[in-house]
């Protein structure tokens, strides 16, 4: 197996970028500090020759090593925690407060949390790959524990008592004789301006007060009462409204546009044309929209029929001349016994955020500030600076929430649009709001995929061998690199699209979860890399795991049938990891699997995966109902079990997992991008339908298996792979027919059952 331990979704910070904090408050400690203390803000003594490798620190502490980059306490005892991760609706603002409050022995409400901002927080790369708790949660927990111990040591020094006699409680250190001293009094000068240690004195699982509790989300009250919650709600003094006129197709070039009439429209401040980048700025939002519509009418484009045949994506994928990567190889690729052979296909699909992307940018005396719902403020800062030819220090990117993104949607592009327009119209803040058709047609899609399986079972009812091949693009085209920003591509001085680098990584990309966790002697898993991207693609929740687990878990049911075994029993027979077995057993038990298949027009299906083969374990059992005359299917009941390691906020895990199951159900039953040979044609919610309330299940149960003392395991994407497979397996159980093509549209269902 070729393993390059470099995740496409790597959230490691990049060395060498040092930022002074923006000075906030006037507390004793808040003077200045280095965000990335590889290169400290303070002059440092030169390192001794041949300095030893710095020790590995927990989570993102390894990249941003000083404690005061993560936690600061001012003279009044106000605690501020900094994370490079962002809230995407997954509840990270709540869970990170819990982790910090736990180890600092304070209440979560006493933690002031600052999320990603290139002027203030550590560089934790992208908030992606379900790694926020693993990386940032681990860093903050360890930093908080070390800060607590430093405070205890400092109190012991001042009182001249053994530190073992002291404890932290309610923002104070308390002595046995009842003396107390507040955190704010203890923290002076450079007390926390130290590098973190590799080991921390973490609280033991039986002592936890805040972690493990289903604390209510801190952001929900504001969101349900009309508070300023999203970048869409940001209103700055003197702000102007902009709209971008996107090309009608991926290949289109702007030929000519007469802007004179539009410039005379009410409220219009400026029309900006730079190559094929066309935008309008107006005083009022509806004025900007009206001017955008007029510009669309005025613009003349040239277009090329460069898109593949939507009805034969298999031919497009198989025609690739890309490299072939070996994902896994063990024993012989020969498959013996009773054989199952199949081809599965997944279409292009969209993130489909309910709020189209939005950003605000302000160019003020050569200093650019961008407010964006990007998943990565630092990479965006770098890409925007490159696009505008600015010094990186002149660009600040501040995260503000958007609508849920589920991966790389239009956020970065909207930020670039706003930045480019603000550079052309300096002095006033510019708000760019994408229209629905911009988001549907121009967000990077989840790539189409093709998978082929040949696997067998022997007379002993065990898998003999497994031969699996997949065809896929890389699932990531995030910035850095200005060329990954639409605005930079469309400018007259266009930035070239950076060529993605194909490799096989531990976390997987197109090949994520392509190697089954099941134990058997012979396997070969290959990725036929497809470098051609006629449609722009990038990371959609779970990347390749959606299609790969769908294929693998559909195959597991077919092999169970060949073996004459119950599908849950068949999975357990091939699982050795006790935590994997535990979620399978729990889901089956809570579902009532042993009581047999449901009656009537309902089928049942089961599926399992461990996300990325190293994150959360998830098994799901569900019931699917079928209306034979119309081909309509609906998941009526789903029961899942998940092990995310030590559970910080069990209800947060349930909420995300319920959401994952329903979203993946929507992908599986309804969703595919449509296009002709030139243009994307699915540009709104009627041409790209998703699940609506009448198709929502009756119930979705999620059982969280807590693993106290175990590392946090990425949770947010764990349901995306198992869900389509469980649906396909339920359909197979009910009708005797296997579905190979996603999505399971009514037409395909009717065709499969001969209606």
């Amino acid at each position: 197996m070729t393993i390059i331990p470099k995740d496409e979704f790597n959230t490691q910070g990049r060395n060498g970028i040092t930022r002074r904090s923006v000075l906030v408050g006037t507390g004793a400690l808040i003077v200045s500090f280095a965000i990335a203390p590889h290169v400290s803000a303070q002059p440092q003594p030169a390192p001794p020759a041949a300095a030893p490798e710095p020790p590995q620190l927990p989570g993102s502490l390894n990249d941003t090593r000083r404690l005061d980059s993560w936690i600061r306490i001012d003279a009044e005892g106000e605690i501020t925690v900094f994370t490079g991760k962002v809230e995407l609706g997954q509840g990270i603002k709540t869970a990170l407060r819990q982790v910090a409050a736990e180890e600092l022995e304070v209440e979560p409400g006493e933690i002031n949390l600052i999320t990603a901002d290139t002027g203030r927080t550590p560089d934790e790369g992208f908030t992606a790959g379900s790694q926020s708790m693993q990386n940032s949660g681990t860093a903050i927990r360890n930093a908080a524990a070390q800060v607590r111990e430093i405070l205890i040591t400092e109190a012991a020094r001042r009182w001249n008592v053994p530190r073992e006699t002291l404890r932290a409680e309610a923002k104070s250190i308390v002595a046995q004789d009842g003396r107390t001293i507040g955190y704010g009094e203890l923290v002076t000068d450079q007390l926390l301006a130290v590098e973190a240690q590799p080991e921390s004195l973490l609280k033991s699982p039986d002592k936890l007060r805040v972690m493990g509790q289903s604390l209510p989300r801190v952001d929900i009250p504001g969101k349900v009462t009309g508070g300023v919650a999203y970048v869409q709600d940001l209103r700055l003094e003197g702000m102007l409204h902009a709209r971008v006129v996107r090309p009608p197709s991926p290949s289109a070039q702007l030929q000519e546009v007469d802007t004179a009439a539009v410039e005379q429209m009410p409220g219009v401040v400026s029309v900006i044309r730079d190559g094929s980048f066309l935008a309008v700025v107006a005083e009022g939002e509806f004025q900007a929209i009206s001017a955008m519509r007029a510009l669309q009418q005025a613009a003349r484009w040239t277009e090329q029929p460069v898109l593949p045949d939507q009805n034969n994506l298999q031919a497009f994928l198989e025609a690739t001349k890309g490299d072939i990567g070996t994902v896994a190889e063990e024993g012989s690729p020969e498959v013996t016994g009773k054989i199952f052979e199949a081809t599965f296909r997944r279409p292009y699909q969209i993130h489909g955020s309910i709020g189209p992307s939005c950003a605000v940018a302000h160019m003020d005396n050569g200093q650019l500030t961008v407010w964006s719902h990007t998943q990565g403020v630092y990479p965006d800062q770098e890409a925007i600076a490159e696009m505008l030819g600015m010094d990186i220090a002149q660009v600040r990117v501040i995260h503000m929430e958007g609508s849920g993104c589920y991966g790389h949607n239009g956020a970065d592009d909207a930020a670039a649009d706003a930045a480019l327009i603000a550079s052309a119209v300096p002095g006033r803040p510019i708000r760019v709001q994408w229209m629905r058709e911009d988001e549907h047609a121009w967000e990077p899609f989840g790539p189409a995929m093709l998978t082929k399986i040949r696997a067998g079972v022997g007379d002993d009812g065990r898998i003999t061998g497994w031969n699996y091949e997949l065809w896929s693009n890389l699932h990531s085209s995030r910035p850095g690199g200005a060329g990954n920003l639409l605005a930079a591509r469309h400018r007259a001085q266009a930035f070239a699209v950076p060529a993605p680098r194909f490799n096989i990584s531990q976390s997987g990309n197109g090949d994520r979860n392509a190697n089954p966790l099941y134990v058997f002697p012979n396997r070969r898993v290959l990725w036929h890399y497809v470098p051609e991207t006629p449609l722009r693609v990038s990371a959609l929740r779970a990347l390749g795991a959606y299609a790969n687990v769908f294929s693998i878990e559909s195959t597991m049911d077919e092999l169970a049938l060949l073996a004459g075994t119950d599908p849950v029993e068949f999975r357990l027979r091939h699982l050795e990891d006790p935590r994997a077995r535990a979620v399978v057993e729990r889901a089956a038990e809570e579902f009532g699997w042993s009581s047999g298949a449901p009656k009537g027009d309902r089928g049942r299906g089961f599926a399992f995966a461990r996300y990325k083969n190293h994150a959360a374990y998830l098994a799901v059992a569900l019931e699917l109902e079928l209306e034979r005359e119309t081909g309509r299917t609906r998941v009526s009941r789903a029961v899942a079990a998940i092990d995310s390691g030590e559970a910080v906020n069990p209800d947060g895990i349930r909420n995300q997992t319920q959401g994952g199951i329903i979203q993946a159900t929507s992908w599986t039953l309804f969703e595919q991008v449509t296009f002709d040979n030139t243009r994307v044609t699915s540009t709104d919610w009627s041409s790209y339908p998703i699940l609506r309330f009448p198709s929502a299940p009756d119930s979705v149960e999620v059982h969280v298996i807590d693993s106290p003392g175990q590392p946090f395991l990425g949770t947010g994407e764990a349901a995306q792979g198992p869900t389509p497979a469980a649906i396909g397996n339920a359909f197979r159980q009910l009708t005797g027919v296997r579905l190979y093509d996603l999505p399971f549209t009514r037409e395909r269902v009717k065709q499969a059952i001969g209606v």
Partner: protein, 164 residues
């Protein structure tokens, strides 16, 4: 053109192009955040407000049609300090992930519950037919609306029942 708008019980005089969709007036002129831009096409429900008791898609409703009508947005249901029953129910059930669609959901539910405090599951789903949620929070949204119905009934019940 000057238009008089009654929003959440207050009257506002607005000078605006009469073709402007109500959504932009609410968000930009009145600085109300709850109603959201989702599609501008009347397909997703993120912009839903209640006009004279009915759920209305404010992104496709010209403001000129709103003169003399009673408009309610989520801001009119209560405040963060004193949330109304729907707001309290959504908090209690933790019925949000990103939360962007939620104000629209609440206004569709508000129109329903005003007429029918004990809607069936089917009636709630039908009332939310237009409202899209992408995070998959559907089960909690349904639960929150049922819970809001209960809270409204408790609030209007005689004191002795509440005490009991």
């Amino acid at each position: 053109m000057a238009i008089s708008l009654n929003v959440n019980g207050e009257t506002h005089e607005i000078d605006v192009d009469p073709a402007t969709p109500l959504l932009y007036v609410l968000r930009n002129d009145l600085e109300l955040n709850a109603a959201k831009f989702g599609c501008g096409l009347g397909q997703c429900g993120a912009c839903t407000v209640v006009v004279d008791g009915e759920a209305v898609l404010s992104c496709v409703t010209p403001v000129s049609l709103m003169e003399g009508r009673e408009i309610t947005t989520v801001e009119g249901l209560g405040t963060i300090e004193e949330p109304g029953p729907l707001q309290a129910a959504f908090m209690e059930m933790q019925a949000a992930q990103c939360g962007y669609c939620i104000p629209g959901m609440m206004m569709s539910a508000h129109a329903l519950l005003r007429k029918n405090a004990e809607p069936s599951d089917r009636e709630i789903r039908d009332a939310l037919m237009t409202n899209l949620c992408r995070c998959g929070t559907h089960m909690r949204i349904l639960a929150a609306i049922r819970r809001a119905g209960e809270l409204m009934q408790q609030a209007s019940a005689p004191t002795e029942r509440r005490a009991g």
